[in-house]
Amino acid sequence: MKLSEIIKTLEADLISTVDDFETDIESFCASDLMSDVLASVCFVGAKNAPPETITLADEPPIHTVRRLHRIGFNRFPVIDPKTKNLIGTIKKGGKRMKLRQIVEKLGLEVKTADEKLDTDVAGGYTSDLLSDVLANSRENDLWITLQIHPNIVAIACMKQLAGIVIINNKDPQEETLNLAREKGVPIMVSSMTAYQLSGRLHALGLSGNQNDAQEN
C-alpha cells in the first residue's frame, strides 16, 4: 500500500521524514523501543526514528494498530503501550508480486484455485522435505516441489503459503487436486526443474531472503 493512501485513510497528522510519499509500505511497527525493532518500514509514536520512518502523532499505538488491521495490514508488531513489551512481529518491506504475474511470466499451468491468482507472493521456498517446509517456509511463499501427495495441501494451509508449483511436469494426485480445490490452495505445474524454476523466480526479484522477515 502506498504511504500516501495510508495517510489519507488514517486521516493522520503526519510528522514525516520520508521523502517519497509513494513508497510502498509493507508493515507498521507500533513501538517506542528502538532496541526491539531491527528493521522496520514505519514507526508509530517512536522517538528518535531513523530517517526512513514516519511517525503518526497523538494517537495511542494500539488504536492505530487496530485501524491498520482493518485496512488490511495483518502482520505488524504491536507494543503494549504500558509495559513497552513487544508482543508481535516485524516484517521488512520486500518486493511482492501477484501470483497471476508469476504464472504468466513463468508459463505455469494452473490446476486449482484460479480465484486465488491475485494473492501476493513474497518469496519462494524450494524443498521436498515436508518437515523442512513446515519449519522454514514463511507466509506467502510460493512453494516449489516435486511432492504430489495430498499432505502438501495441509502444509500450504498451515503455513499460509501463496501456492504450490510442482516441477518436472509431474501430475499431482487426483486426491491432492480435489483437496486443493476444497481448501482454496493454488497448485500449478511447470515443465522446468526445481533449479531452473527457482532461478527464474529469483530473477523476477523474489529473493526469498531470510533476513527480510523476523519471525516471532
Binding site: L130, L134, A135, H149, P150, N151, A154, C157
Partner: protein, 153 residues
C-alpha cells in the same frame, strides 16, 4: 519442529498418538524381510481405539482429534513416507481395545528413509511417560535390539 529425515521421528510421532489414546502398553516392532526387501514398522497400543468413522479419516491430513489444531499430520506423513518407497500403511483399530499401525517400506528404494536414532526416541518416550510400558523390537539382518521399559529399575 524436527526435520523428519528418518523413521525414528515418524515413529515418535505415532507413538505420541498412542500415548494420547491412553492404555498402558505400547509395542513398536521394526522387522526387515531380506527376501522381499521390505521393512515393516508396527506401532501397537491398548488404548481407546477408534470407531469406524474416525478410522476412515485417520490418514486425512486435515483430520485431527487433538484440540486446537487444524491438521493432524503424523499418520499421513508416515503413510506418505511408506508410499514413496512403493509401500503402504494400514491401520487396525477397535474401540476400547486399541490400535495397530503397520507401515511397509521397500527397503531398497532410493527414497527409503533410514531408521535413525531409535535410542533417542526411546529415551524421550520413557522419560516423558514413566507409567507406560514401552516395548521396542528391532530386527535388521544380524542386528537385533530388544527394549522393555518395565524391566528398567
Amino acid at each position: 519442529m524436527t526435520l523428519m529425515e528418518d523413521l525414528s521421528l515418524h515413529i515418535l510421532d505415532i507413538v505420541e498418538n498412542a500415548v494420547r489414546a491412553g492404555g498402558n502398553n505400547i509395542k513398536v516392532n521394526i522387522t526387515e524381510d531380506r527376501n522381499a526387501d521390505t521393512m515393516t514398522v508396527t506401532i501397537e497400543d491398548d488404548g481407546k481405539g477408534m470407531d469406524r468413522q474416525t478410522l476412515e479419516k485417520a490418514t486425512d491430513p486435515f483430520f485431527t482429534t487433538t484440540e486446537g489444531r487444524q491438521v493432524g499430520l503424523g499418520l499421513s506423513l508416515l503413510a506418505q513416507a511408506a508410499q514413496q518407497t512403493g509401500g503402504s500403511l494400514e491401520i487396525d483399530s477397535k474401540l476400547a481395545k486399541g490400535t495397530k499401525v503397520s507401515a511397509v517400506f521397500n527397503a531398497g528404494h532410493p527414497d527409503m528413509k533410514p531408521i535413525g536414532n531409535l535410542l533417542d526416541t526411546i529415551s524421550a518416550l520413557t522419560a516423558a511417560n514413566p507409567r507406560t510400558r514401552f516395548v521396542f523390537d528391532c530386527k535388521k539382518g544380524d542386528y537385533e535390539y530388544h527394549f522393555d521399559s518395565s524391566k528398567q529399575d
